[in-house]
């Protein structure tokens, strides 16, 4: 372990370890009401009747609200507002809400919900995105001008069709990645109250407290400045709490609670039913190369299952297109993407935001090409890895930094690779072993067109300690702790001198969401600006106390400002006591730089396209396949990452391991079993995420890198690690069992049939 970690343990570790940290779910004001929702349970239907009389008459019920009780537009959505808070005429997926109940107790709530009599007249549903785009498919939003086509985009560079025709070799494939649930530990929840002053005061497990105000205000016809949102530490988010979960329903409940606190908590099954999901995608792609393996052209189309509401589907698909060429040098590309409305669960943000889908496709194509050319897959990747200063698949030259080649080289030097032949030979009876290595990349930030901004506030307390007003929620990724580390280093103080105020729209300054691998980068830069202002201020104010006419020579040390010329010092506690509050505050802000001369492509994408900064990685997976059962065990997983300078090795390692575990889940375990809009695996006994026993040790290798514009040289890396396991496991399974994986998750059944019968 290097220095920084020894000095700065995670700021949130102790409070979380002893159970003292208060998550949103822990907030239950005495006497609060409980709110809950009756959900459709049918995938597509007209609401023909809604009898809530029996629910209203249930003892302990305070209110039963329906569409008629929703003020405002009744439409939520981050950018595209098409999702009703409460459905009035039509339901478009099984999780759609039709009535909201407020009750004195959870028991009364459950009883009242069960007594709501909703009558539906079923409509034909559409569950396959390809079928949804047929001309005669039933429409999910009859008023939508493009039918079920929610979004379309095209990215192009050079002349791919012509280049492809000239290629010595081409490989094609159709690849499928599944819908995925976030399975965060803390379920969507919040508490809200309308104060006597007319402020809607909310505590929510949310990734975007500042933006939530606008989403709620739009949906319910409120003034956003009368809404206060607080976001304590989240027990996981992964994108699933980016965009309203409970927010609008809870706010509506609070408006009807006579000033009392109201709490809403979805249970696990409700979260599977109604929560956002990673989009299932189908990708048809073709890659062409010269006989020596030099990549020439990539073409294809990507189709995303958006479910019935837009959320950020178009933006997610845009990112998929932007990453579809992988970290490789491909002179000619032409890729189309479409998002189709369906009556499946709602697609939304999820760690890896579209990149996961197209990464799987390009990495599989690289393997297919290697097989075709008789090349080693790693060598083919090294040969084509995008170098510094080279344009990527859409013609953007990313900010220079360590790339795929360096990351791959790091993994190829690991014993899990160099000693793989021996490891494979030692396979126990009835098992076969294989090893795969693939590359990964993930852009950082919102991208062009949507300012990636944050403002930071730092306070010197009267006691001479500091308060950081964090504006971007920490959903467990450790950004809050990173902020303490940064500020402590910048101001030469011990980390114990810093208290963190978690996001609160009343006291903290506005910032974008906790998402897009941007959190530490953008807020960190703003915070370091505030720290510089604080340092200058402390010197200047101390200079008065020390009768020093050259503040620049004063030195900050833990708890003190010292004049080296005289040896005299003034304690920060004294400065804190002397200064009025306004003078104890420093603020600054930061906006992430964007691509300066964007290529003329992806014209459909107004928000968040293209991206300037990328983090990279490589992933090795070593698998053991049981010939008798088809079960796959991961023997080893090694992930390298290049993400600028490392502020906390422990923090980076935890993010890499968590991301890889989630990628392993998607590759081998998590099968939603979706049928006619219904998740067959709608609870944790059927939707299986890997347990500790299913995960190998995951080694994290740091590749030397620097991001000069990053806070202390770092770049975001919360997402990149999720992209490795799917394609690396697929490659390893080909090595072990000759299975051509085109679809995730891989099942034991796939393997058993690949291996033939028992004989």
């Amino acid at each position: 372990m290097t220095g920084p970690d020894a000095v700065f343990p995670r700021a949130d570790a102790l409070a979380k370890a002893v159970g003292a940290e208060r998550y949103s779910a822990d907030v239950t004001p005495p006497g609060c009401l409980w709110a809950g929702v009756r959900r459709a349970g049918v995938a597509h239907a007209l609401i023909t009747g809604l009898d809530v009389a029996a629910a209203r008459a249930t003892p302990g019920v305070v209110a039963v609200l329906t569409r008629r009780d929703v003020p405002g537009t009744n439409r939520q959505g981050i950018v595209h507002k098409d999702q009703p808070v409460l459905c009035g005429e039509r339901v478009r997926h099984r999780g759609d809400p039709v009535a909201l109940v407020l009750a004195e107790s959870r028991e009364a709530l459950a009883l009242a919900l069960s007594r709501i009599d909703a009558a539906f007249s079923p409509l034909p549903g559409v569950f396959e995105p390809a079928a949804a785009l047929d001309r005669d498919a039933p429409y999910v939003h009859p008023e939508h001008p493009d039918g079920n086509l929610l979004a379309y985009g095209l990215v192009e560079k050079g002349d791919a069709p012509t280049a492809l025709a000239d290629c010595a070799v081409t490989v094609s494939g159709e690849y499928h990645t599944p819908m995925q649930d976030h399975v965060f530990l803390e379920l969507p929840n919040g508490t809200a109250r309308l104060t006597p002053a007319g402020v809607l005061d909310m505590v929510v497990s949310t990734q975007a407290p500042f933006r939530d105000r606008f989403e709620i205000a739009h949906a319910l016809g409120l003034n956003p400045w009368t809404i206060r949102v607080r976001a304590p530490y989240l027990g996981g988010g992964f994108g699933g709490k980016d965009g309203a979960t409970v927010q609008c329903l809870l706010a509506l409940a609070a408006l009807n609670a006579g000033g009392r606190w109201v709490k809403m908590v979805w249970d696990r099954e409700e979260t599977f039913l109604a929560g956002y999901k990673r989009h299932a995608a189908v990708m048809r792609v073709t890659l062409g190369a010269d006989a020596d393996g030099t990549l020439r052209a990539l073409t294809g189309s990507l189709l995303f299952d958006a479910g019935p509401y837009a959320h950020l589907s178009g933006e997610i698909m845009a990112l998929a297109l932007e990453h579809a060429g992988g970290p490789y040098r491909i002179p000619h590309t032409r890729l189309e993407g479409s998002c189709a409305y369906t009556n499946n669960p709602v697609g939304g943000a999820f760690r890896g935001f579209g990149v996961l889908q197209s990464s799987f496709a390009i990495e599989r194509l690289m393997d297919a090409l290697a097989t075709r050319l008789g090349r080693d897959p790693a060598g083919l990747r090294l040969q084509n890895a995008l170098g510094r200063g080279e344009p990527n698949a859409i013609g953007v030259t990313p900010e220079p930094g360590a790339g795929a080649a360096e990351c791959l080289t790091a993994v190829l030097a690991h014993p899990a690779w160099t000693e793989r032949a021996a490891w494979k030979r030692q396979a126990p009876p009835f098992t076969r072993r294989g090893v795969g290595v693939t590359c990964m990349q993930n852009a950082m930030g919102y991208g062009r067109g949507l300012p990636d901004a944050a403002a930071a506030k730092l306070e010197l307390t009267k006691q001479g300690t500091f308060r950081i007003y964090n504006s971007v929620p920490d959903m467990g990724q450790g950004n809050a702790s990173a902020f303490v580390t940064m500020a402590a280093q910048a101001l030469h103080q011990s980390p114990e001198a810093f208290a963190l105020i978690q996001p609160d729209t009343r006291h903290c300054l506005p910032a974008g969401s906790s998402s897009a691998s941007r959190t530490t980068f953008t807020f960190g830069n703003a915070l370091l600006g505030a720290c510089r202002a604080m340092e200058a201020k402390l010197r200047a104010r101390a200079a008065l106390a020390l009768l020093c006419d050259d503040p620049a020579r004063l030195i900050l040390s833990p708890g003190l400002v010292t004049d080296p010329a005289t040896g005299a010092a003034v304690p920060l506690a004294r400065l804190g006591a002397l200064l009025p509050r306004d003078d104890r505050l420093c603020v600054d802000q930061f906006v992430m730089a964007v691509v300066e001369n964007p290529p003329d492509t992806g014209r459909q994408f107004k928000l968040g396209f293209p991206h300037r900064f990328y983090s990279h990685g490589a992933c090795l997976c070593a698998v053991e396949v049981d010939e008798l059962t088809g079960r796959v065990r991961l023997g080893r997983c090694v992930v390298s990452v290049a993400c600028g300078r490392v502020l906390s090795l422990e923090g980076v390692t935890q993010q890499v391991q968590g991301a890889a575990a989630q990628g392993i889940g998607l590759a081998l375990f998590e099968d939603p079993a979706l049928e006619n809009g219904c998740m067959g695996a709608g609870d944790l006994s059927r939707y299986l995420i890997p347990t500790a026993l299913d995960l190998p040790d995951i080694d994290c290798l740091i590749v030397a890198d620097d991001e000069p514009t990053g806070p202390l040289g770092l770049r975001g890396m919360g997402e990149v690690g999720i992209h490795g396991p799917g394609p690396a496991i697929a490659q390893a399974l080909f090595d072990a069992a000759g299975l051509h994986v085109t679809r995730l998750p891989v099942t034991p059944e796939d393997l058993l049939s690949a291996l033939g019968g028992p004989e």
Binding site: A110, L111, F430, L628, T629, R686, L688, T691, L693, P758
Partner: protein, 276 residues
């Protein structure tokens, strides 16, 4: 929802509670899940009745109290030494907290086709000691399991203990469960085997049982017959595996298809193929 909770300390105190409709609660790992709905359910805890938890040996038989937890059983010397097939099954059951709370009696009474102890107990020819206000009776486990969640337990009756004659010390005891992950996984298919051989390596008695491959865990007489009198080798095991595939009646669900289960059921036996 759990309503009234009673904690009798003797069987005499239990019987009137059961007569009044209270539900038996052992470890609660199945019952608390089943009773999550709004309806209220009175329960009588068995944990205060000391005699139900004992594990003992006598008259050449091993007696496992119904209230013994999976964790206790899995580390008990009598189980480890004589009933290895059961110990192996218990080690795959649930997770540490589930094994700490869940009991053998609960696993049997639940009578899930996937109950992990059931194939092992069937392969051990286990018998159940049932108790009620009227007295005791002993029933072979095979006769007790009637269907998914259906047993021969009469109203007001509980499982007091499981009684097993330990197999010959040299007998092969084997258990394997296919789950979709390595912990907290309901069996997709499982196989328990207790196979005795003579000095020459010829099978004198084969007891095979499967889980998750039929409405109840069940024995496989045809496959057992295919092994009896043979040496355990590739040929005999392959024949017996075919008999297993023939005998089972698996279903398709989110965990696996019937075809996969059938195939894998036979394959599980091939694990016993001697390695060069």
């Amino acid at each position: 929802m759990i309503g009234a909770v009673y904690c009798p300390t003797s069987l005499e105190a239990l019987w009137p509670l059961l007569a009044d409709g209270a539900h038996v609660l052992a470890g609660g790992t199945d019952l608390l899940v089943a009773k999550r709905g709004p309806a209220s359910c009175a329960v009588a805890l068995l944990e205060g009745i000391g005699e139900l938890a004992g594990i003992s040996e006598g008259d050449g038989l091993i007696r496992l109290g119904a209230m013994a937890s999976h964790a206790t059983l899995a580390r008990h010397p009598l189980v480890r030494q004589h009933l290895a097939v059961l110990a192996l099954a218990l080690e795959t059951l649930g997770s540490p907290p589930i094994r700490a709370m869940g009991t053998l009696g609960g696993n049997i009474a639940t009578a899930s086709p996937a109950g992990d102890t059931l194939p092992a107990l069937l392969a051990l020819n286990a018998r159940l000691e049932l108790a009620s206000a009227k007295g005791r009776r002993v029933v072979p486990l095979a006769d007790f399991l009637l269907g998914p969640g259906r047993t021969a337990l009469a109203a007001g009756e509980i499982i007091a203990a499981v009684v097993v004659a330990p197999p010959a010390p040299a007998a092969l005891q084997h258990f394997e469960k296919i789950g979709r992950r390595d912990a907290l996984a309901i069996a997709v298919a499982s196989l328990a085997a207790v196979i005795a051989t003579d000095a020459a390596g010829t099978v004198t008695e084969a007891r095979l049982a499967v889980g998750s491959l039929a409405p109840t865990a069940r024995r496989l007489p045809a496959a057992e017959a295919a092994l009896t009198g043979q040496r355990l080798n590739r040929e005999s095991l392959t024949r017996a595996a075919a008999a297993i595939r023939e005998a089972v009646s698996p279903m398709t669900d989110v965990r696996a298809s019937a075809a996969y289960r059938r195939q894998a059921a036979g394959n599980l036996l091939l694990r016993l193929t001697p390695q060069p």
